[in-house]
């Protein structure tokens, strides 16, 4: 059935009557990133005000593929992760076809022993609904709907936003302003910041249809399907019998013409045959890959689409934004509490511009492959596809989207190369089952020292989690080694690891982590 958009209640802002005391954190934008940011800060005991110019969740499904890492981030925001998995369509197999023949199939999570699946498909409006439900339960968070930022000023120790509401305008001061106001970011515009990158000269039709069909929960991608000659197509299942269809249209099509249902419906009929369907939502879009040079501008911090945009085919927009939340929350909370210097936020900028670059690189390469320029690009692309149907190696070159996986930050924390590569410093701590529970659930809001197959050295000042050297823990954290110590950051990133270290060495690694030392 169609999603029921319920407006959230608007309330008159106190600032309309009298100046409000300066807030700790003002978050502009109640999209997935702004909402997740508020809850993550609340997790760390930090209060925030979230304002949004609208009063409903995302119009249209937009982001539908949520990655394992994004689900792990959501899983620490109350019940959001659990609800997303329960409602979403879990999938891990993707099939890529050229004409009608399969040229390549992948299985994203071939290993067991993770709490979260590789991907679930769930419309963005559900994710936002769950985030709003959770945020409204948190005493640290105040959401103000129908409040629009129209002006911005900042000094060395705070930012001032001018906000318009149905009842008039007011000003709000905050120590920190987090701009989560989306790809067109008015905050970015008001600050006159350049948003450098590329626009790909291609147009896509994206449509959600409601249809009863027995398609398996898999990602189906076609290059040059017979039903849509010369272009590409994607079919992907969502809950509520909704299917996402993407059709490449070509740069020379007229978006105003293509937007009309009488154009869209026959195109979809060619994909789904004579099955009955209802058009739920559609949009025509072009791809862009851009990012801000820096995500930190004094007291204004950018996160999510306001900081970086990618083309959708690697599902790296929303997923990448949630990793911004993860990298910023614990650091900003420490700065607000006075436990870490403001300069430590440079590490957020360093890590997430690095992450954004990786997402942009992957997403640009996919787009290049899907929409080759005429001439040699097209020639190589077509020959890769031709080979891929016949010889195995060419399948590795077929690129219909390298789906979102977290990057490994370039950390300088101690490493012991005898331990498994996938758990090296800068990586997300791999999950593992611990009896009925999961390792990631046992990591808290604080840094943790994992002592695996051994005791922690005496005098360690961070919380210690001792784990037996067995099963998935052994495989993912020890490899051939007998024992190890892992320092895990509050965002579940491995900060440093040793087979043996004394308390002073570990204390220094903990300090380096809080300082965001390079």
């Amino acid at each position: 059935m169609a999603y029921d958009y319920k407006p959230y209640p608007y309330r008159r802002a106190p600032g309309l009557t009298a100046p409000e005391p300066r807030h700790k954190v003002l978050i502009v934008g109640a999209g997935p990133i702004g909402l997740a940011m508020a809850i993550e800060l609340a997790n760390h005991g930090v209060r925030s005000v979230v304002i949004d110019d609208n009063d409903v969740v995302s119009v249209g499904s937009r982001a539908i593929c949520w990655s394992k890492r994004a689900l792990e981030v959501l899983d620490r925001l109350g019940d959001v992760g659990a609800r997303a998995v329960a409602k979403g369509v879990t999938w891990k197999v993707g099939r890529t076809r050229h004409h009608e023949a399969e040229v390549y199939a992948f299985d994203l999570l071939p290993e067991a022993g993770h709490k979260m699946p590789a991907f679930v498909n769930l419309q963005q409006y559900y994710v936002e609904e769950y985030l709003i439900d959770e945020a409204l339960r948190r005493p640290e968070i105040e959401i103000r709907f129908k409040n629009r930022v129209v002006g911005l000023d900042q000094s060395t120790d705070h930012a001032t936003a001018r906000i318009e509401t149905p009842d008039g305008a007011y000003e709000l001061e905050a120590d920190w302003l987090i701009a989560c106001d989306g790809a067109r970011s008015p905050v970015r515009e008001m600050m006159g910041l350049a948003f450098e990158g590329v626009l790909f000269e291609e147009r896509f039709l994206i449509a959600d249809i409601e249809m009863t069909a027995d398609f398996p929960p898999e990602r189906w991608f076609w290059f040059e399907p017979t039903f849509h000659p010369g272009q590409s197509a994607l079919l992907h299942k969502q809950p509520d019998n909704i299917y996402r269809i993407d059709l490449q249209l070509g740069w020379d099509t007229d978006p105003e013409v293509e937007r009309k249902p009488e154009r869209i419906v026959p195109r979809i009929e060619k994909v789904v045959g004579d099955r009955k369907f209802r058009l739920d939502w559609s949009s025509i879009y072009t791809f862009q890959c851009r990012r801000l040079d820096s995500f930190l501008h004094g007291r204004v911090i950018f996160a999510g689409d306001s900081a970086h945009v990618v083309s959708p085919f690697g599902a790296r927009g929303g997923n990448g934004g949630l990793q911004d939340v993860d990298a910023l929350g614990w650091r900003l909370a420490a700065v607000v509490r006075g436990d870490a210097p403001g300069a430590s936020l440079a590490a957020y900028d360093r890590e997430r511009t690095f992450g954004a670059d990786e997402n942009i690189l992957n997403s640009s390469r996919t787009t290049r492959f899907m929409t080759p320029a005429d001439g040699i690009e097209r020639l190589f692309r077509d020959q890769v596809l031709r080979l891929a149907g016949q010889v195995p190696f060419a399948r590795t070159l077929v690129n219909s989207g390298r789906l979102s996986v977290p990057c490994t930050y370039a950390l300088t924390g101690a490493d012991d190369p005898a331990l498994p590569l996938a758990a090296r410093p800068g990586s997300v701590a791999p999950d593992a089952p611990l009896g009925e529970a999961w390792l990631l659930d046992r990591l808290g809001r604080e840094p943790v020292l994992l002592a695996i197959g051994r005791a922690a050295p005496k005098g360690v000042t961070v919380p210690v989690l001792e784990l037996a050297a067995e099963g998935w823990v052994r495989a993912r954290y020890l490899g051939g080694a007998g024992a190890a110590l892992y320092l895990i950051r509050p965002d579940q990133i491995v900060a440093a690891r040793w087979q043996d270290a004394d308390a002073a060495t570990i204390a220094d690694a903990v300090r380096a982590m809080w300082e965001g030392r390079e």
């Binding site: 020639l379 077509d382 020959q383 031709r386 080979l387 010889v391 060419a394 070159l397």
Partner: protein, 63 residues
Amino acid sequence: MSLTLQPNFQDADGFYAALLATHKGLSEAESAALNARLILILANHVGEKATLDEALKAARATG
């Protein structure tokens, strides 16, 4: 240096003749497509990134 630009063919004349024979009877477009496939096949066989990077550079530099 992992890419050799020194003579390395077992039978240089034989390879050259075979290359031309492989293209025999193809249109210009078909030949271009065959060349593209051939590059991809050979590149995968080489595999090693450093060697491939050097080969790309050498090809560009000698043009």
